[in-house]
């Protein structure tokens, strides 16, 4: 029912899509994969009307369409669930769900109808808990994601684009999303499913289209192929060893970071120890306090209870500055909003911490060169270019370089490989290991269990902001999930 043919698009004279074609049948889930910069998102944005194509044509049910504004795409029955939530925190759930297509009676917005329909939609999504007149800012992330989905469904779409829909979701929420997808396809919707996560793709899709450098590589029937084949098509090379070897138990040094009885308005009874050379994985559902833990240690939302020691000395950082001085670094989960100043050069971003806090490396060209070398920032246009022009992977490498400049003792990684392509992902994993091997204490938060399992020397599982248990190296996903969901009904409600 959907046909995109020979779609081409250039930005600043650089062609990012070379006549890519793709089609979608009713009730089908069609996965679109590719590394960052492969052109997936651009292709989707052409379809959702966010960008206008330079060439090619789009047909829906055989009738050619042309969008130069999202409104037109919606009118034509194309809905999109964005990677970044596009919600207005100050407006109510209902107002958000119907934003841009408010139901009207006699020209006036029909608030009653809005509320009613919203309730229905949320019911469909098994999210009765959400009141239509709550301002979105008062909802948890998971619930905001749900609202985003409801928003996409509100317009009765026939083609639904899901761009990394699970990026912000925890495993069990992913499950909910999956059966939502199935129910939608039963209704005859066609779904374009963009994702990095092979498991999801193979669980859901009938076909998978692989893009590389803005070109269509291949379109495979999911049933007739396997992960390696797809990855090979994506990367153009085998990625044999996903995860570097762990540290030998003997290689671990003494405790560097310890927290005992740590707590604040989101955490309670946190007990943890990270030793030099160790990678401590932290698992948990969305809202279980994983990121809160990192932010607490980093002094962004500090502990209000308990004590924390760094290399034996007691520390209680009340803001990031103090944490950094003490030798703690946080590679945050939101690169673009929290990790980088996007209009500034790679150089300035790399030196930001050193300059701001006056610790670690001297601010200078040689330092920058060495650090970028260290994080294997490849194929950049030099240290002078603005980071916003870098690919997700390279941006993440700059963030890490920035922290290495501060010569930290403890490195906190929160979702270090989110939205990063397979190649860069491997590079980052290797880097993390090397850093640990150099004697840093590493705390690794990830909602991607394979990564967590592959990287961690121990795994601390959180639920409801408290430790739910600790697992030795190489636990199974089931073990983790069991602990993580121990308080899940409440966490789930969040």
């Amino acid at each position: 029912m959907l046909l995109m043919q020979d779609m081409t698009k250039s930005f600043l004279g650089i062609r990012v899509l070379h006549s890519v074609s793709l089609d979608l049948a009713p009730g089908e889930v069609h996965a679109v994969v590719g590394e960052n910069g492969a052109g997936k998102s651009t292709l989707m944005k052409l379809l959702s009307g966010e960008h206008t194509p330079d060439g090619g044509r789009i047909e829906i049910d055989g009738t050619p369409v042309a969008f130069d504004h999202p409104a037109q795409a919606q009118a034509a029955g194309v809905g999109i669930i964005h990677q970044e939530l596009a919600l207005l925190p100050d407006r109510t759930v209902a107002e958000n769900v119907f934003l841009g297509r408010e139901p009207t009676r006699r020209g006036l917005v029909d608030r009653a109808a809005m509320a009613r329909r919203t309730t229905e939609l949320l019911a469909e999504l098994h999210a009765e808990g959400i009141a239509p007149d709550t301002p979105v800012r008062e909802l948890s992330v998971a619930r905001q994601q749900t609202v985003e989905v409801a928003k996409a469904l509100a317009a009765d779409v026939r083609v639904l684009i899901m761009d990394e829909p699970t990026a912000a979701l925890a495993e069990h929420e992913v499950a909910t999303l999956f059966d939502l997808v199935r129910r939608l396809t039963e209704r005859g919707l066609g779904i374009l499913y963009v994702s990095h996560r092979m498991r999801e793709i193979f669980a859901l899709s009938q076909r998978v289209t692989v893009l590389k450098d803005g070109r269509l590589v291949t379109c495979l029937r999911t049933a007739e192929t396997d992960v390696d084949a797809v990855v090979r098509a994506m990367v153009g090379r085998e990625l044999s060893a996903y995860y570097p070897p762990r540290a030998a138990p003997g290689a671990l040094g003494g405790p560097v970071l310890t927290v005992s009885g740590g707590g604040n308005d989101r955490l309670a009874g946190i007990e943890l120890t990270v030793r030099a050379g160790e990678v401590l994985g932290v698992a948990g559902l969305q809202g279980s306090g994983r990121s809160a833990l990192a932010r607490a240690v980093f002094g962004a939302d500090p502990f209000t209870r308990g004590r924390m020691t760094l290399a034996g000395r007691e520390v209680r950082p009340r803001r990031p500055r103090e944490a950094i001085r003490a030798g703690i670094a946080l590679v945050g989960e939101d690169r673009k909003a929290e990790g980088l100043t996007l209009r500034q050069s790679v150089r300035d971003n790399t030196l930001l911490v050193t300059r701001a806090v006056g610790v670690g490396e001297r601010a200078g060209a040689t330092t920058v060169a060495r650090l970028l070398e260290r994080v294997r920032l490849a194929g950049g246009g030099g240290a002078g270019q603005e980071v916003r022009y870098l690919s997700g992977g390279n941006q993440q490498k700059v963030v890490i370089a920035k922290w290495l400049a501060a010569r930290p003792r403890v490195l906190l990684f929160d979702e270090p490989t989110r939205g990063v392509d397979v190649g860069a992902k491997a590079a980052i994993h290797t880097l993390v290991r090397e850093l640990a091997a150099e004697g840093l204490a590493v705390l690794l938060i990830s909602s991607e269990l394979p990564e967590l399992i592959g990287m961690s020397d121990r795994v601390l599982v959180l639920a409801d902001g408290r430790p739910a248990g600790e697992l030795p190296a190489g636990p199974s996903e089931e073990e983790i999930m069991r602990l993580a969901t121990s308080g899940a009904d409440r966490a789930g409600a969040a």
Partner: protein, 340 residues
């Protein structure tokens, strides 16, 4: 994602009343009206102590009367600010409006309608220009409207040398009639306020204005025609200025080239809007707050008059009041948005 920073479980189903209550308290529109009431009582007390009487008919009339012009313009300003824009051209536009009105009327009631239409048309035009410069030429609203202000200024100074035109007698009644202690022009103000309040609450345009002001990118992705919304907001604003100009003309009986600028309507209107609790960034606030802000300023002014406060010192006090008020809102918002 900003939203991705984990937030505590807060099932909206549980204790929504509490949530609403908290929201209620953190809403400036309520606060500013309480403030207005407070200032009035204070003024009444202070003046009473000094053996005067504050709430006399002349005073009340005066206060209400002083609300109208600034009120109308501030209402317009509210529209653009909510949408995330800004209009610095209102002062000169008001001046030009009075001149056009007075000259078109030329003293005869016959031309009244023509004049009204002319003024509103002119303003709509200027508003449209503002909107298009901001959206199409992508000039920052601050600079865009500042530039338009300069253009208008040049036009006025080049074509007018002092008061001009003659407003017909029956039209002047708009500026002078009153029902009991309430000037009719106040009903005009309230009328416009109701209309705009209705637009914001009950029309798609209104919803889209809040959305555009709140997060233009998100709004656009949701299919809102953000640029169109901004343009319309500017036109609405300019129309309000037009109405204000008509009122001023009625009051002056003639057009005055410095009607808008001497009163510093550009900055004062913005101050009033923000005093009314509308977020300067857009996306939050509304006409109710703005009216409150205007009222507070008018009452304060009347109190200062009663106490014969040195006009220079008045400015100092005004400055302090505005900063203080906004500081309070900022505080409220922070504590309200703690769990973000």
């Amino acid at each position: 994602m900003t939203a991705a920073s984990p937030s505590p479980a807060l099932p909206a189903a549980a204790a929504p009343a509490a949530a609403r209550w908290r929201r209620g308290l953190s809403d400036p529109a309520v606060g500013i009206w309480l403030a207005a009431l407070g200032v009035t009582l204070l003024g009444w007390a202070v003046v009473a102590v000094r053996g005067g009487e504050f709430l006399t008919q002349p005073n009340i009339t005066g206060i209400l009367q002083n609300c109208v012009a600034l009120g109308l313009i501030a209402l317009g300003q509210t529209m653009v600010i909510l949408t995330g824009s800004l209009d610095l051209s209102v002062a000169y536009l008001a001046s030009l409006g009075t001149l056009v009105a007075a000259e078109t009327m030329a003293g005869s009631d016959g031309n009244m309608v023509t004049a009204v239409v002319a003024v509103l048309a002119l303003c709509a035009g200027v508003g449209l220009a503002n909107g298009l410069i901001v959206t199409r030429l992508k000039v920052n609203a601050f600079i865009a409207t500042l530039g338009v202000a300069l253009i208008l200024r040049g036009w006025i100074e080049d074509n007018y040398t002092g008061p001009a035109g003659d407003v017909s007698r029956s039209f002047q009644r708009l500026g002078y009639d009153r029902i009991g202690p309430v000037p009719v022009s106040v009903f005009l103000l309230v009328g416009v306020a109701l209309a705009l309040w209705f637009v914001l609450r009950r029309t798609r345009l209104g919803h889209h204005m809040y959305a555009t002001g709140g997060d233009e990118h998100a709004a656009r992705l949701s299919g809102v025609r953000t640029e169109r919304t901004v343009v319309i907001a500017h036109v609405l604003c300019a129309l309000c200025v037009g109405i204000a100009a008509l009122f001023l003309a009625a009051r002056f009986g003639a057009g005055s080239p410095w009607a808008g600028t001497e009163a510093r309507y550009d900055l004062e209107s913005i101050a009033a809007v923000v005093l009314g609790g509308t977020l300067l960034a857009g996306g939050r606030g509304g006409v109710v707050g703005t009216l409150g802000g205007v009222t507070v300023l008018a009452v304060l002014d009347s109190v200062f008059n009663q106490l014969a406060v040195d006009p220079f010192f008045k400015n100092v006090l005004r400055g302090v009041v505005i900063i203080a008020a906004v500081a309070v809102y900022a505080r409220g918002r922070r504590s309200a948005g703690r769990n973000r």
